[in-house]
Every structure is written in structure tokens, then in C-alpha cells.
């Protein structure tokens, strides 16, 4: 008799786990998936490509409804299928519309939601985040009728949103609370090159900006962004992209132990042994997640345990950063800032738009920033993960694998 697996969340982490599971133990579970969006499973990180018109929604669909049918998966998708409650005692979950399912194993993959700045006007019309197809469609609609967009947050998502909106013809200003774009991933010189490149593409920036408030017209639609320094920007569309928070309310209400996210162990198990969690909703060894690579790794480990092979352990590895803006190559990994005990190797050729920095500590590579030429990014990632001693190849390290291991 098959066991019952219920998955809450039809996103990338949850569905990758299901895919892995279907490969690892195809007959072990009857699988039921609840998703709050009315689609099959799509590649969320490709939304920026949809926004800038390089891809269509069809292009980014990973699994359409037929796939669920083909694999015998019961899919409940749509707003009213959002899960409202977990009954851990009876091992049942209930959707908003009362749909329910019993489980032997529950996988929570509820993802995250955008952080909304706690300022006056954050509830105006035209203030949106950039999380899903609905958001993209809204942005596309605005771009057809309006001109002025402001993106809050000079991180990966904000820049991708801004780039998309520019390519849709909008006048876009990115406001960032730091002097350095992508300051969580890039150092100052690389960020400066990136900013110059984006400015050449038409993006505007207001750096080290202190946001004061948003104000709107009588209809409650945003019109103006005001800053602490007294300056103002006209605004028809305001995108918040200042980070995400794990969606853990459902788990918390069910009494599952949470801190900043649903706390899981190295096997992606929550404090309730029959409940697993993966993706942006979790907290593993203090870390939360926002990029795709670790999610996929979690999916693999989680599927391994769900299929009772039970050997894999999830280790949080440094995650490489990439910006999905066509023609811009950047890469960063690990501790790219370093500390007083670190040594730095630089290679720069600004005229051709190349900047590389490697951070070395105790003869090991612990961080890297690459701009312009990212060809060796994955090799650096490998060196970093393996904690190889790089002394012997140090002189050639920054010139890449072809030179260093020639």
C-alpha cells in the first residue's frame, strides 16, 4: 500500500522534490499537491525574462497540468486551494475552500513573500512586489499605460525588475539604501561597473537613499516617492524588492518550531518527524534561502529521505550569485569581502569591462567576485567548496582553470 505524501506549495522547491522523488522511488507515494497559484509549476526565477520579453510564460512552465496527470499526482491549484490549516494530530491538511487531504508525510514548500517597507503609503495602488506571474502581469499592464517606475532595492531581483521595466519602455529609477548595488553579493568596484553598465542601458539610480514615504492621488494610486533628504520622485509603479521573508505562518499555527523560518535539520525534517520542509520557507542552521541552487540541493536531500534511502545530508554551501540581465555577466560567491586575515588577488581590465577579485584565507579560496568574465565561476565554486589549498596555483588562479591547472 502506497503512503500518502502531501505537498503544500506548487513552486520550484516543492516540485523539484517531487521530481527527484519520482525518480528515486516512483511507487512509494500517492502524491497530492496544493498550490495557491492557478498554474502548473513554473520557473519563478525566469520571471524577469518574461518581464523583459525574452521569454513567454509558456517558455518558463516546467510542468504543465498534463505532467501531474501523467505522474498520477493530484493537483489542487488556485487561490481557494491555498492551505489554511494543518491538523498534525490527525495528519490532515485543509484548504481555504475546505478541500482536505490526509498525509503520512507532509512536505511544506510555501516559499517566501516580499518584505514590504514599513512606511506610510505602502498600501497604495501601484505598490507591488515581484514574486509571481500575477505580479509580472501587473507590471506589464502598468508598462503599457504608465511611464514612471521606481524599484525599491538594488539587489538581484530589483535590478532584474528594473531592467525588465526599462526594456518595456518605462522610465525606471532604482532606489537603494546602500552606496553599492548588490552589496550583499558585490564589492564596490564590481558594483560600480555594473551600475555604469545599467545606466548605459537607461536605468537611473538613487543610491544611499533613505525612503520617507509614498503618497498617492485621491483614487489611492501612488504618485510620489519622498525621501528623507527632501527630494521626491514621480511614480506610477512602485516595486518592492528589498528581500523576502519565509512563509511560515501556516507552520507556526500548526505548532511547528520556527524561528526566522521553519527550522529543519540536515535531512530537511522539521521538529515534527512526519513533516519536511524545503525552499525559501525554511531555516537551516541559521540560514534562510533566496536563490535557486540550494533549493535544488535541498530537494535532492529531502527526496532521498522521503524515499527512505536516507543517506544524504544537506550542507549549506556558499551560493553563487548571478544576475539574469542579458549581456551582463557577474558572479560572486562566498566571503567576497573578507577580513583582516584575508589576502586579495585582483584582475582588472575596465576597458573591456572585466573585474575579478579572489579572497584567500589560509591558502584557501573563500570568496570571489567576477564581473564581465565569469567563465571560471564554477571552478572557483568548486575550489571553495572543496577547500583546496591553492598555494601551488596561486599565481595563475585568477587567470582561470585553463592556466592554473595547465
Amino acid at each position: 500500500m502506497k503512503q500518502r505524501l502531501v505537498v503544500i506549495g506548487n513552486g520550484m522547491a516543492g516540485m523539484r522534490t517531487v521530481e527527484e522523488l519520482l525518480t528515486a522511488a516512483p511507487d512509494k507515494y500517492d502524491i497530492t499537491v496544493f498550490g495557491a497559484e492557478p498554474y502548473g509549476n513554473y520557473n519563478r526565477i525566469m520571471l524577469s525574462s518574461v518581464l523583459c520579453g525574452e521569454k513567454t510564460i509558456e517558455d518558463i512552465v516546467i510542468n504543465n497540468r498534463q505532467w501531474y496527470i501523467d505522474n498520477g499526482i493530484t493537483l489542487y491549484a488556485g487561490e481557494d486551494k491555498a492551505v489554511a490549516r494543518i491538523d498534525r494530530i490527525n495528519k490532515k491538511i485543509y484548504a481555504l475552500d475546505g478541500t482536505f487531504a490526509g498525509y503520512d508525510r507532509l512536505l511544506i514548500a510555501t516559499g517566501s513573500k516580499a518584505v514590504i517597507p514599513p512606511i506610510s503609503g505602502n498600501d497604495l495602488e501601484g505598490v507591488i512586489s515581484f514574486r509571481d506571474i500575477v505580479d509580472v502581469n501587473k507590471m506589464l499592464a502598468y508598462s503599457r499605460s504608465y511611464n514612471k517606475a521606481v524599484v525599491l532595492g538594488g539587489g538581484l531581483l530589483g535590478l532584474e525588475a528594473a531592467n525588465g521595466l526599462v526594456s518595456r519602455g518605462m522610465d525606471v529609477t532604482v532606489i537603494h539604501n546602500h552606496e553599492v548595488l548588490l552589496n550583499r553579493q558585490m564589492d564596490r568596484p564590481a558594483a560600480k561597473m555594473l551600475q555604469t553598465e545599467l545606466e548605459q542601458r537607461g536605468l537611473k539610480f538613487k543610491m544611499a537613499a533613505k525612503l520617507k514615504q509614498l503618497s498617492g492621488d485621491e483614487q489611492g494610486h501612488i504618485t510620489t516617492v519622498s525621501f528623507e533628504d527632501g527630494s521626491q520622485l514621480e511614480c506610477d509603479l512602485f516595486i518592492t524588492a528589498i528581500g523576502v521573508r519565509p512563509n511560515m505562518a501556516l507552520a507556526q499555527e500548526a505548532g511547528i518550531y520556527c524561528e526566522r523560518g521553519i527550522v529543519v535539520n540536515d535531512t530537511l525534517q522539521s521538529y515534527d518527524p512526519s513533516i519536511y520542509a524545503v525552499g525559501e520557507c525554511i531555516q537551516h542552521r541559521g540560514a534562510t534561502f533566496g536563490l535557486v541552487a540550494p533549493l535544488f540541493e535541498q530537494a535532492k536531500v529531502c527526496a532521498n529521505h522521503l524515499s527512505a534511502h536516507g543517506a544524504a545530508e544537506y550542507i549549506t554551501l556558499p551560493t553563487a550569485t548571478k544576475l539574469k540581465v542579458t549581456g551582463i555577466n557577474l558572479f560572486s560567491i562566498g566571503d567576497f569581502q573578507g577580513d583582516v586575515n584575508c589576502e586579495y588577488i585582483h584582475f582588472t581590465d575596465p576597458a573591456v569591462g572585466i573585474y575579478k577579485k579572489l579572497v584567500i584565507k589560509a591558502n584557501k579560496l573563500i570568496g570571489a567576485v567576477l564581473y564581465g568574465d565569469t567563465a571560471d565561476g564554477s571552478w572557483y565554486q568548486e575550489l571553495l567548496e572543496k577547500e583546496d589549498n591553492i598555494s601551488d596555483i596561486r599565481d595563475m588562479l585568477i587567470f582561470g582553470k585553463a592556466y592554473a591547472v595547465a
Binding site: 525566469m46 555577466n329 586579495y344 565569469t374 587567470f399 582561470g400 585553463a402 592556466y403
Partner: protein, 897 residues
Amino acid sequence: MNKTIQTTCPYCGVGCGISAKVDDAHHRLKISGDTSHPANFGRLCSKGSALGETIELKGRLLQPKVYGRETSWTEALDLVADSFISVIDKYGADAVAIYGSGQLLTEDYYVANKLMKGFIGSGNMDTNSRLCMSSSVAGHKRAFGSDTVPGCYEDFEQAEMIVLIGSNAAWCHPVSFQRIRAAKEANPALKIVVIDPRRTVSCDIADLHLPLASGTDAVLFNGLLHFLSEQNALDSAYIEAHTEGFVEALNTANVDIEQVAKACRLNKDDLHRFYQWFAGHEKVMSLYSQGINQSSSGTDKVNAIINCHLATGSIGKPGMGPFSLTGQPNAMGGREVGGLSHQLAAHMDFSSADDIERVARFWNTSNIAQKPGYPAVELFDAIYDGKVKAVWIMGTNPVVSLPNADKVKQALQGCEFVVVSDCIADTDTTALAHVLLPAQGWSEKDGTVTNSERRISRQRALFKPAGGAKPDWWIITQVARRMGFEQAFHYQSPVEIFREHAALSGFENNGLRDFDISAFANMSRHDYDRLQPTQWPVNQAYPQGRARLFDDGKFFTESGKAKFIAVTPRLPVNPPDQDYPLILNTGRLRDQWHTMTRTAIAAKLNQHKAEPFVEVHPVDAQSYGLVGNSLATIESHWGSMIARVQITDSQLPGNVFVPMHWTEQYASRGRMGALVNSIVDPISNQPESKHTPVRIKAYQPAWQGFILSRGELSMVAPDYWVKVKGEQVYRYELAGLSLPENWQEWAQKNLSDNDGATPQWQEYQDPAQGNYRAARIVNNQLESVVFIAAAGSALPATAWMQEVEQRRERLPERNWLTGLFAKTELEKAERMALLTGKPPVGVADVGTIVCACFNVGEKTIQAAIREKGLKTHQEVGRCLKAGTNCGSCVPEIKALL
């Protein structure tokens, strides 16, 4: 219109004939050896072959300069004449001097000598031949009564044994050496012996090398004389008939093999073998050069060698005899005209009142000098001491080449009036001149030179003079006229001077003097222009010249007999001691000439040995903590230099060798002359340049590196630099004692030239490892690169020096980078490889990146699809990882499929 002109090489004393194809329109030359010239029969060495690369006008002195300001010939000549007159008026004729050179043509030399000795009335005309030939001159004079080289190059082929003494002919007289090599190959029985403390490349063809202790040559040849006597290998009849002083010489040479072996620190058996060979062969040639001459007992050494030839009668006949290999293209010509301060003219000198009177009569002068002037070293001491107030230096670079060269520099700095004639604008000596007179260069000069075998050859003008350059004879003549000697110096062309010179050689000669070219005294200009290489004497008796002298057993002494000289060997004056425990030897390199003013212009000549170096025996290297290829400071009591250490057992322990060529134009601290003791031979006054006590220690810079630059740079004074001119690029080898505050600023300051274009900078920095590299690129063409290996912040200070050294060794070879300067545009892969210093390796062009996660490019994917027959994106993923992470590129991969 291209034309071919026969001329003569301006470098060593071999005197090779050159056939130059002249392309006037492009100011280009195609050089080949003159197959008809008896000195070389078409062969040329590396230096001669590269002559076409040395004729560029960049760097030439093309206008007279007075106190740094360009001026007219009239003003410059007036100033020289007036200044000389005023010094003479005030302090007497001996307060002025001319210092000439074996680079001057015979005609130039003749008028310079005539002016000083005949008309100014001072003996103060000396020449840089003093530094290379004067011991031979003095030795010849003592033994033969004349300065005669008895044999000729043809003797090489006829000899049964050739002894090279103190001569690295392979590098210093390459064409003669090749001739000897060919003779040896044709006749393997020909024995070659090399006597030299160094195992030089000349040993390549040697049957025996005797690495004698520095300065012990006279002991060795005294021992030979003794041995010849013991073995009854003497030619008693010859000794009896044609020589005198034998018994005294033999008695003085009373050393047996044991004693010689001990004194010379030689293996007794080797020594014995040499002695036996010498005794056992009739046709023995002793070729000697600076290893013999440049010694405080050089004259005695020359005579110790000649003694052995006189004792065996092996002189003057084919295939035998002592043979001095002269250093300079016209050292012999200089001797012929009397260029040395003790000589008068035409092999006459101040030792004879009759000679003085005769020359005065010939020149029709009442003011002829009565006594020798200052020889070179003493001359510059006299300038230093203020006794000589005005000096005119012609075509030589004494600030580099003289011993105790720093003192020479000071002497010129303190001198009231310094005139320098040269074809090159910037030399260490022109830097100190008050008046600079632009002389014609080799390719413009017209006149004659005489080589080691007494062969007079024409050097012919290939091009019109560049800029305002003038022939030396013209310059001298113009000054002479302005000094009031109009009558005696009204020459219009070199042939007029040559005729007078020839006439003087025959004047009241009557067989008294060896040098007699009176057959040329009435030579027409036409014949002069067509003069074929001819060995003097050229007179009534020998109208076609004469290959050998003394074949008749007649010498030019009063008695007509050759003189044995009793030689009591003297060791070099300054022995090594506790403070200066090593012996410094100096010498030439294969591809450079003298002070590099001309050879360093030819890029290909700078490749063989690019940097001043010091050869050290491995044992000494260990004792003094020297690492191969590291830098060392060599210090003597007189001065110091910095050179790169080359560890080699071709040096004797306790001996170090440095090349003589580098100047301050090409190296910050490479002037070996600064080290050399200014000890001279009491007879010849030739300096002891082959023996100076020195000490050596590691030079420990905080950083080392190199720059390659398309343009010539004005260095912002690192402590050590060497400039090497390449084909499209100047290479600078660098070292510094302290680190600049900021390498980036340092590089921008040092690498910039004023070409106006905005450069792009590529940089590589690993400060912890002390690595800094940068490239300066203009319009995607490489303008310069700098590679620095410095003490890194990651190291404790004590480990710096060794580390810096090791790191320098890790700097790339310069070849590939150098080659990039030939390109008008850098390829992308080359640009990315630049600062590795290595050619792009294994970097295939991956095309546009498709999979950003794993950085897989379009071309890589296409290639994999093609080569491995991939059908699906999953297969591509398995093969290349592409598309297996975020999957966003899967559509593109599919499109490629």
C-alpha cells in the same frame, strides 16, 4: 638606385671586408661579407652582419652643440680653437690634450696627431689603443726594434699548432676563430691550445686548455723557454745569427715544470704536454690578446712569448710566429700614424732626436713636441689634477672604458673645457662635454683602416652624411686652421692626407723603419678609391705588399738582430686580500662592441646577453651566498657595480668575470670600469684591466621585475635598471631596494610616454604575494607591460630577499610578451592571457554564454552536440551540466539541438 659598395667592418681588428648593398631611398643596407677580402673571404660575425641595423638616425648626434645648445659648425669650431689657444697661451701646450680612438680612420688619426704633436707642440695625443694594444707595441718594439706583427692570417691554415693566450677569439675575433676552426677541421692534426684562466667558448676547439692562475703567463712562458733549452729544442743557429740577449733571458727564465705548475696552479701533466707540443712542432703560432696585454707586466708577457719564438726560430715564416690579435678596427692604423703619446708618427717616436727632427722637417714645423705626452690613464689623472685644462675626446667613451672610471668621470666634470666628437648623441662621455661635434658614422666615413695582419683596407662612404655630421679629419683640420696652422692643414679630401701619411712613412726611411707605404705616396684619387686590401710594407721592394716580415732574419734594432728580453715575472700589482678576496677579470661578449653605443642599437645583438652579469665559480657562489640569476654587488677599492650572477665552473675559484660593455645609457650600475684598478704597465702604460681585487655580495632588493615598452622610457629611478633594445620593444630589467607606496601609481608614472593617446590599463595584483602586473593598451595594441615580483605583505621581513629572488624566477619568460609588440591588434585571448605572461592555453572560444549557471557557451554546446551526437537537452545536461541548474537556458539548448 641600389648600389653595392665594398667597405670594411668597424668592429674588431680582424678587419673583415664587407659588401654593402645600399638602398639610398630608404636609408637601408644589406650587409654581406666581401668574398674577395683576404681577412674574411666573405665570412662575417654577428656584429658585422647586424651593421645594417645600426645606421638609424635616432640617437645620432647631428648638430654641433655648445654647452647643451645646438649651434653652427662655425661657432662650435671657433669656440674649440679659441679655447685651446687661450689654454695654451695661459698654461702652455701641455695643458691641452687629444684622446683618440682605434675607431678613427687613419686619415683622421693622422691629422689629429699632426695637430697635437707637430703644431700645438705637445705629446698629449693618446688613444684608447693604450687600453688594448700598447703592451704589444712595447713588446714588439723591444724585441724587433719596431712595432711589427710578423705574420698573417694565412698562417692559421699552415700552422701545426696554434696557441691562444689570453684570447677568447671565439667571441672577440669570431671570423679569425672560425678560420682557425675550419683549419682544424680540415687538418685534425692541428693542435689548438688555449691558455686562459677562464674556460671560454674558444676552448670548444682546443686539444688542451691550461687554466692558469691570473697573471702568471710570464712564468709559464719562461718555463717554456727553460724547457725548450732542457729538451734541446732550440734553434741555436738562428739564435746565434739573428738574435741577442739569449743567455741572460734563459738564465732569468730558470724555472722547471714543477715550479711553473705550482706558480700557475696548473696540472703538471697538462703543462708538460703543452711544452712538448711546442717543442715538437716547427710551425707554432702564438695568438695573444688582452689577457696578455692588459696587465701591469703586459710588455714582459709579450716578450716572454716572443722569446720562445725567437729561441726556436719560429718567426717570419709561414705557419708560425707570435701574433697579436688587435682589438680595434684601426688600432694598427693609429699606431702607424703615431697615435700613442710616446709615438711621433710613422713608427717614429720621441726616443730618437733624429726622428723628431725628421718629422719636424717633413711637417715643416718649428713647434714639434720634444717628449712623450701623457698616456691614457695618466692623462685623465692630469685632467683630474688640473694639469690638463682642455681635452678633446674623439670617438671613444673613457667614462666607461678607462680604469677607475668614476675618477675619470670626476676628472671630466672638473675639467675646464671638454670637447667630444662622436656620432652618437648620448654616451656617458658626451654627457660631460662642453662642446659636442657630430662626427660621421661608419656608413658615412671615407678613409682607410689597418687590421691585425697589417692589411690596409678602404672604409667607404655608403650614404651621404646625416644631418650636420662631418668627417673627423675635416673637423680636426678646421680647428687646426683656426688655430693658425692653415698651411699644414689645407686638405680637401682623405686621399691627400693618406698620400702625406704614405710619404712620411717613406721619408728618409731607407729600410730603417718597418712601416713604409711610400708606394702610395703619389697615389691618385682614382687609385685610392679603388685600393684593394694590401699588407704593408708597400714600397719599392714590395709594391704589392708583404705577407710576412723577418723571414730574412733582419730586424729593426740598431744591430739588426732581434732581442731576447730577460723577463722576471711579476704578479699583478694588487693581490687579493681579506677585504677584497676575489680577482675581477673583464672582457668582451660575442654580440656587443665596446661601450655598446652602436651594437646596442641592433635589437638582435642584445639578445645573446641582455644584462650585465658576473660569472662566479660555484664554490665562490656558495661562500658568498649568491644564487644563480640573482643580483650581486661587486665592489673594489675603486668603485662598484651590480650584475646578475651566473654560476659556472668555467671560472676558476677565486675569479669572477664581468663583461666590459655596459654604460649608464643601458644600465644603472653596469659600468665595470668603475671597479678596475688604475694600475698600469710601467713600460707600455697599459692598464691592468684583467686583474682587480674585489668582493662580491648578494644585492638584496625588495622587488624585482621587468617592463616591456614600445616607446623608450625615462625611468623614475629604480635602484637597478637595465635597458635592452628589442625589435619593437624596449625591455627594462628592474630592481629596487624599497617598495613604492603604490604600485599602480608607480606603473602609471613609469610606463607613460607622451604619445597623447588615452591608454587602457589592465592590472593584476596580489599584494600579499608581492605580485603586481599591468599592461598599457592603446587602441587594442600593446604599448607596455610591467611585471613586478616584490616582497609580499604576507612575508616576514627577514624572508623577503630570498622570496623576492624566488618570485623573480617565477616571472614569465619575456619572449611571448615581446612577440605581442609586433602585432597591430591584440586578439581577445591574448589580451586575457597578457598578465600571465604566457600564450593563451586551452582557452577555446566558448561563444556566447548560454548556461549562466555553469558558464557553458554556445560554441561548446554546439561542439558537444556535433561531436557526441547529443539529441536532447537532458543529454546536453549530462554531458556539459548546461541547463541542469536553474534550467532557464533549456529553451536555448533546445534551439541549438
